[in-house]
Subunit: 449 residues, 2 copies
């Protein structure tokens, strides 16, 4: 029996054959929502922290890398396996315990974001971070990528809700730590599984606001939209959601839904929320007036139903884009709000220069932009697409922005890190990595260039 | 010229004699607000990041440890020098730049907490973390200890406001990092200067709430007070401040001020805030009703002036305690709110068993308790005092609490860390420390046991 057969036999003994996938099922674990990796050595589906610890010890003995994975809905290749690796899929570790009195929840990494929020609802609480994939994405994945979402302008990102973390380190030891010095839990947030495997988290829940209000504003120019947003925020508005669609995106959605959107315009969708109905409307009025002063036509939802209809435009973006080209690269940059008009213009010009379709939308409150490159791999060069993606990332860096707003670095932006972070800091990152994972077993080939 | 003389000569050349203190001035830099350390080799007062970098390189060459220091108002000995060390006092690095449009401020480490908040006020903004020493404490010190304060129940601690950090590492390299993976800025928060020297920070500011309301509730028993707080929080109250004084503390303040406080009672002081006057009063009413249902007598301030008078009781705690005994050890534990009655009882009993005066107060919303041991070193044994402090820390750990709520570990609680954190986690901490400061030059003898 060869060494690999021995490793598989040990894995089978450890987990049982139902928790160890082989061909063809393990094929499914090659990709996330954007990239395809290599066929993993094995896919393990542990149910307990102890199994995760045993897995790490086994992996160490055989020198097999471990690639943690939640729902595989990531957008930067963070959970995509490379070379001979064991994918550790956490979907079966999905215990959830709510403590409404302390407004916290203890969740295993496989609990989906939506389930966490829905379980809190009967107690008048919710869990704010809302990545687009929140129905399927898992808390473990959200922590690994420090996921954001539309609500994050007002409510903050995943890491802001983490109170304590349980993780298994590269030696198979388990740790349960509050966010006290040294804040290793915080260091693991966004680290994409390269510093430890998350096996549980205590997160903060917040009261559901009692009132909400929505408007849609159509601007003739992206510039005016970005300025209106900056102005309203400076005046004190903190909307719950602040979403932007560029004219190309609006046209795509209108082609798809024919819901009467103003073609050729940049759209802003705003939701305010709070416990006081009047203040919620006042805050929306501030947005409305600022938008009008910047030349926008504003439609204010009269009730929840109309609000839902307006938000449909935002939710339709993904399927609408899929009708234009079968594939897309979803970029994820964040830039200072003041630079948005220029950034949007440069990216549009880059798309034209490359002869590729680029649409732009995103969480404009945070300056978090998602330029999407749409393409058909049958007749458009993927290499050119990735070149353009790289050029887009460079635009962000040039304007004082960052490589990733909320999707993470993963495999996709790994090589851009050397441009985003100076050499000494990268060296500090490498030292931190070497300290916690000296043999490089934890998700190698991700995040660090 | 000996090697130490050479080091001093180099320091003088680097900083100029006005920025390098010798005897007797440097004596002042031996202590913080609670502990006395050893006479430092030198005290350096750099004015720029470049000087800090040069200082680190010089210290490396001579193997001289560096002890960063803000205002020296710390309560755990974090900035106290040990052995031959260079104290790096950041008080002259106090540049501050506000950006109201993005609601952020860039501050050097020597900017005081109060100045930051006051500079933001004309723009309708403030900086919430409010340690008791906020008038003198510096942002660098606050970041190093991850300082809290009364407002932190609602608004969060220092680390929650950090957006980007500039620091000089143990090799003299400077880094300016957003809070993206790896989140080294977050790792430096609360690390007490053991992982890097902070030279600047971009922090978040928030709008000043337009309305506030205050009440004082007197409970015959601490138990009933703790239960009322738990109940009100579970019902949805998020007061801005939620302060507790035990009966011994109330008596001390009443002896001092004779303001008519109910002797022998446990006191709760509550402040609610927000932009809607009615909601602010409603939230306070929820607290009032819950307190009454738990047997409290409630006094509600009718205006700002009366509110100020009530808060005077809280602010008088420190001077009042000074009149009972000349010295005190200010403990700082945080426990789950539900365990507070039992924790307060056990600590009271410990004080009696040791024959020492112990009073208790703190930010009860967070379960953050400050048991203070009052003593006179002329006839009460300091060793016994520290023994009792240790026993108090153990009570916190036994009830699922942590060693430090907001004062940090520093020198004072360093040896307790081995009881608070398991061996494997300490090993991970040591690896992180070794990765970022392999020669152990940065504030040695602090935090890690």
């Amino acid at each position: 029996m060869g060494v690999w057969e021995a490793a598989k036999e040990e894995l089978r003994r450890l987990l049982g054959f139902r928790a160890l996938l082989s061909r063809p099922e393990k094929e499914v674990y090659r990709y996330d929502a954007i990239l395809v990796g290599e066929e993993p050595f094995a896919v393990a589906l542990p149910r307990t922290r102890e199994e995760v610890q045993a897995l790490v010890r086994l992996a160490r003995r055989y020198g097999l890398p471990l690639v943690p994975r939640g729902a595989g809905s990531g957008l930067s290749g963070g959970s995509v396996p490379l070379g001979e690796a064991i994918v550790v899929a956490f979907t079966r570790m999905d215990r959830l315990a709510l403590d409404p009195a302390t407004r916290t929840a203890w969740a295993e990494p496989g609990v989906t974001t939506a389930r966490l929020s829905e379980a809190a609802r009967p107690f008048g609480l919710f869990y704010p971070p809302d990545p687009a994939s929140y129905r399927t994405s898992t808390l473990g994945g959200n922590l690994g990528e420090n996921a954001g979402g539309p609500l994050c302008f007002k409510y903050g990102v995943t890491g802001d809700y983490l109170l304590a973390l349980e993780f298994v380190d590269a030696f198979g030891e388990a740790h349960l730590l509050e966010r006290k010095a040294y804040d290793l839990p915080g260091l693991l947030v966004g680290a994409e599984g390269t510093l430890g495997l998350i096996t549980g988290a205590r997160v903060r829940l917040v009261p559901i606001p009692q009132h909400r209000a929505t408007l849609m504003a159509a601007f003739p120019e992206v510039e005016a939209l970005a300025e209106a947003v900056s102005r309203a925020v400076a005046l004190g508005a903190v909307p719950a959601r602040l979403e932007f669609l560029d004219p190309a995106c609006v046209d795509a959605v209108e082609d798809y839904l024919a819901m009467g959107l103003p073609r050729g315009h940049a759209l802003l969708l705003v939701e305010t929320d709070g416990d006081d109905a009047e203040l919620v409307q006042e805050e929306l009025s501030l947005l409305e007036e600022t938008a009008k002063a910047h030349g926008a036509k504003v439609r204010r939802a009269q009730d929840e139903k109309e609000a839902e209809a307006l938000w449909r435009a935002r939710r339709a973006v993904s399927p609408a884009l899929g009708r234009i080209r079968p594939k897309r690269v979803n970029e994820d940059i964040a830039v200072p709000r003041s630079t948005l008009p220029e950034v949007v213009r440069e990216i549009r010009a880059l798309g034209e220069a490359y002869g590729l379709i680029v649409v732009q939308f995103g969480h404009i409150g945070d300056g978090n932009l998602h330029p999407n490159i749409l393409f058909d791999p049958r007749w458009e060069s993927e290499e050119k697409v990735w070149d353009l993606a790289h050029a887009i990332a460079r635009v962000a860096l040039r304007h004082g922005g960052v490589l990733s707003g909320e999707h993470g670095i993963g495999l996709m932006k790994r090589k851009f890190m050397a441009e985003a972070v100076d050499g000494e800091t990268l060296e500090a990152f490498r030292q931190a990595k070497a300290a916690l994972d000296p043999e490089g077993l934890l998700n190698p080939g991700k995040l660090l260039p």
